[in-house]
Symmetry: D2
Subunit: 367 residues, 4 copies
């Protein structure tokens, strides 16, 4: 067994999730390459020390540069605000270190392009953290679609809906300014990534983007609350994507439904251990959506539990990401979603913004 020194930049919500994942992943997946929690960096040395102690890292870094430079840090996880992604990633790649970056890839299309170029120039493992696509259910949905289980696909609808800003009396906070922190920058990448993963490339979009609550106690909101995107996939299929941070009652509405000529698939992350499958080859009186509970028969589930229906949760998705990142490092082969996959999402976001501005169908440009 080989150990690799992991450095995490950022100790908040996602930094913690990755720290936990790196603590557990070896025991869960019996990986050949095992992580060593080497170093954590944060917005200040004091925060870093606090995270070090809380999460069990060997050392705290005075700042992210020291972490990236440290020879014992052999792979870097970026779990900081989006505006900082690019600089950190580029520095790590410059040192030939594999990088796992939280979604979305930087705070603009330009950043995503630069980061992808840096990753590919470095030729090292690079991944983006679209954790929701890691559930056994969604992995299984991808597999079913790839196998043609529902025939020719004819419609896709995806959404990511939460309600953390649904109440207009919630005071202005950091999420309320900066395009990348808005709904389109922050939440929409999830269903866009799902659309790409399940359906393939998006060719053009027609979007509508809106700030519903324009003022909040303490400030004026300058990014969007929700957005809808009509889309045309490269395979000719039409679809609709919706993302919202004001979807009252929805807590984790990462959901999709896909119709095909011989079946249909439905999923909602709020019940993440079930995939609904309809098949027209069932005898007619018995046709119906099957509620398939995930189990060892589905991707990555067996590592967590031998019994079907026992369920995986949010943190387990991050553990699966950790396993995939270690695998990419060990094998040298890219593991989806790479930075290029993250870039594809950024391109759709950019096209959606342009479309909403123009009120017209807009092609998604790909480098």
């Amino acid at each position: 067994m080989t150990r690799i020194g992991i450095g995490i930049v950022g100790g908040g919500y996602m930094g913690k999730a990755h720290a936990v994942a790196m603590s557990a992943v070896g025991a869960v997946f019996d990986t050949a390459l095992r992580p060593r929690l080497e170093m954590v960096a944060a917005s200040s040395p004091e925060s870093a020390e606090r995270y070090r102690a809380a999460f069990g890292f060997a050392r705290a870094a005075p700042d992210w540069r020291a972490l990236v430079d440290d020879p014992a840090v052999e792979a870097v996880i970026i779990a900081t605000p989006q505006a900082t992604h690019r600089e950190i990633a580029e520095a790590a790649f410059a040192r030939g270190k594999p990088v796992f970056c939280e979604k979305p890839l930087g705070d603009s299309l330009a950043a995503a392009r630069a980061m992808t170029a840096a990753a590919e120039a470095a030729g090292v493992a690079n991944m983006v953290g679209f954790n929701y696509s890691r559930t056994p259910a969604t992995q299984f949905a991808r597999k079913l679609l790839a196998e043609g289980a529902i025939g020719q696909v004819t419609w896709f609808r995806g959404e990511h809906t939460e309600d953390f800003l649904a109440d207009p009396s919630i005071p202005f906070n950091w999420r309320c300014a900066g395009r990348a922190n808005g709904n389109l920058g922050d939440l929409a990448p999830h269903p866009i990534n799902a659309a790409l993963a399940l359906m393939g490339p998006i060719e053009s979009v027609l979007a509508e983007v809106e700030t519903v609550h324009r003022t909040r106690p303490g400030g004026t909101v300058t990014n969007d609350d929700h957005a809808q995107i009509m889309c045309r996939f490269a395979n000719g299929v039409k679809g609709h994507i919706y993302a919202s941070r004001i979807a009252t009652g929805r807590k984790m509405g990462y959901a999709y439904e896909i119709h095909g000529t011989r079946g249909a698939i439905r999923f909602d992350q709020e019940d993440q251990n079930a995939l609904w499958l309809y098949r027209t080859d069932d005898p007619e009186p018995e046709r119906g959506f099957r509620k398939i509970l995930t189990g060892p028969a589905h991707p990555d589930y067996a590592a967590f539990c031998q019994g079907p229906g026992h369920g995986t949760g949010y943190q387990d998705q991050i553990i699966i990401e950790a396993k995939d990142f270690l695998t990419a490092i060990e094998t040298g082969a890219p593991v989806w979603p790479t930075f290029r996959d993250g870039l594809a999402v950024a391109e759709v976001v950019e096209a959606a913004l342009a479309s909403a501005r123009d009120g017209a169908w807009t092609r998604v440009t790909q480098v």
Copy 2:
């Protein structure tokens, strides 16, 4: 108790539903005005006689004109193909007879306008058959929204999805030609009507309309299979409407979800006896969508059953329509949805078609 002679034109699917409804409505609602199944007309005298015997009418008409002319027919129900709606309705109104017309109102915007003008010139009861908006659940949803139960509304999503043409090997049939028989003409009016009923007028739309299966055994399909409409309501709220006849697995997907600043509502006609309501004034740890089973506390339910949760079904919606039509005739006061309400739906359909052609936001014009 007064009896009114009912004439039904058309004895198929919807003609039967209205015949059953008129047979039952008096006993269900103890209406002041009671129907008498006077006459049925169909595409031939032989069919009419068959329907007469099956449904229990007193007489069969040789054709619809004879029915409309017959002095014992005091109110007319039109349950024929859409292309015939206008002529029949105009004839009935010309004789001062109340008319209940199945949705949609005629086969074009011009027809809907002419029919509405005729209805209003006649000054008699006129209604359109949007049966799905008659469930106790959807009536209750309208009431909740009217009372502001979920605060300021911020999003509407509606759909009507079925799968009767999802299989491309289904042969070409009458549904496959004629704009009015297509998905946008036939199914989309349901969720458009729901949108108008729940949210108020639609100001502009941006639509996409598609024939997915362009050829079928026996013919070339000339109308649409599915359509999506981004919409802006007059009250400023944004929304999305989807209608499809190729939505594999969906049998009666008349569904909507509405977000507001203080709550949310969800409904799916496939479980038509439940309305889902979320309220932010519940204490936080107890917040969740409540599955409200319809019962005597909800509109029109008590007439069918004294016990909550016992359920109403498709046919009961038609009985409610029958009660409303009789009420409109008896009281002389309009009962929603009138021909003018049906016209409003046709205007949205027209705008959607224009928008899909132009790929641009299109205003809904109202006469």
Copy 3:
């Protein structure tokens, strides 16, 4: 087409349901034999006249005897309190008239036995009103079981739960006295009937019967609030039945689940248009309970609607009963459930009471 004069005794909740059903059944099912709403009787001539006018009967009877004696009344529906069932039924049978009696069959085992004997001596059509077993879903479940769709059955659980007396502050009323009006007399017959219909005869029971709220404003409760019954079917399968009128939150909890070696079935009347079926011959990764929406492929559905998933409701069950009663009269062949089937339910209730008293397994005696 032949018409038969129907007399209904009782104009309350169930009397109305049967009046509506008899108004509608001919149009719904195009029955060969058609009902004529001849006469209604009630607790007083005044009530009878009120019901006559409300439901559209030709005549009101001064009392039930007059109705039974009236030559124009050719078939009798009994929708009165249970204590009166026997006398009315015996009188009707004595005159050779077919009888449809609401469940349960009389107010005691003795009554049920006498009524069954009278029915069989008369040799005319006789049925008991277990309406919940008439849904297309439950009829389809019976068919699936009869075909062995889930292999060898290994477990049955059934319940009927409502909450109309869950609140102890609800005043004492007629439901609170008299064994037949209690939960075991009134509600338990439903799941017992379901158990017999789906599984076959019950051999022995061990029951527990309890009055939870012993006093209510205005009186002392003398019958039970809920009861549980462990049972052993004649086919060797074990099961459990629960009935309650204090099941807070449950409105129409007529529900069952059945396990077999090759599948399972689940149903809940609160979502009466769905049957859940699990089959082990699905490939393992795709196994799951299918939510089958009832449609024209299922028994009796097509008469109400051509589209699947459009749904039937409570009143439709009574219309199905009306069709079955007319069929039994017309054909002379018994239609399930006959009085003998109702008697089988009464025998289980009797055994449950004895078992609860003795705290021991008790055989169900059958005449």
Copy 4:
């Protein structure tokens, strides 16, 4: 931060779960006391070495005695077959070491009693692994009940249903012999523990225990496949418990429903992130079961994720157990469920067996 050396006996299904949990718990909960994966023992030194490498322990033990004796092992987790629990636990307690023992507590009531006595004589931390009661949902249900949220409780129904032996062609294996490996020994303790946790002590039971598939390829089954228990709680409430390993279609049917005079609670582990709550103080037209998605407002959830509805899974339950065990060790105060709580479960199992043998109500004896 203090570290404590953890020794795990057993490296199979549950041993792995505890190893993962001990790897992750510090980072998840920022516990004051942190585990050190010191040693693992298994059925052979070779297995132990394999587990050591896979799970990341410092050392492998030649056998469990060496592990218990090792001074660096400061706390012992027992994850072995039930027949071995007692010996290992007694040895650990004899050395004054805290013990976490997988459920059930030993393979007989005698074993459970001896183990509890040993634990209490040692005066060290002791816990039993009823992991399903650790979900945020079930912890919240306990809290709601303790606060009287649903008024006076009137009924409890609990079950634990899986289907791993539903197919009679599954060959005879170790689960098919030995009372403790049967359904009543292995699965029933889960819902019994739930019943005790949610409702308090059980006073008497009447049970039925059955081996449905008596022979399997390769052997004769000598323990039970499913069992039902009618029970009377010490607080006077009645209930029913069912456990099965042949419940086709059920994968993790740890479920309960509880009725009270002012509300009701429902839960099913197959959708472990939702608790259903009904409250009668909602206005009548809005009453319904609320689907509450677990979130930071519920016990132990926030450590895993800041967002509600993101979900916890099976492995997270074991992490919560690890946190509780560390807390018990650190604080010296007992944390539920202790060995005594595990003993209470064993007493109900014993009473159920006696009752099934006698076919009569049987008191649960408590030491």
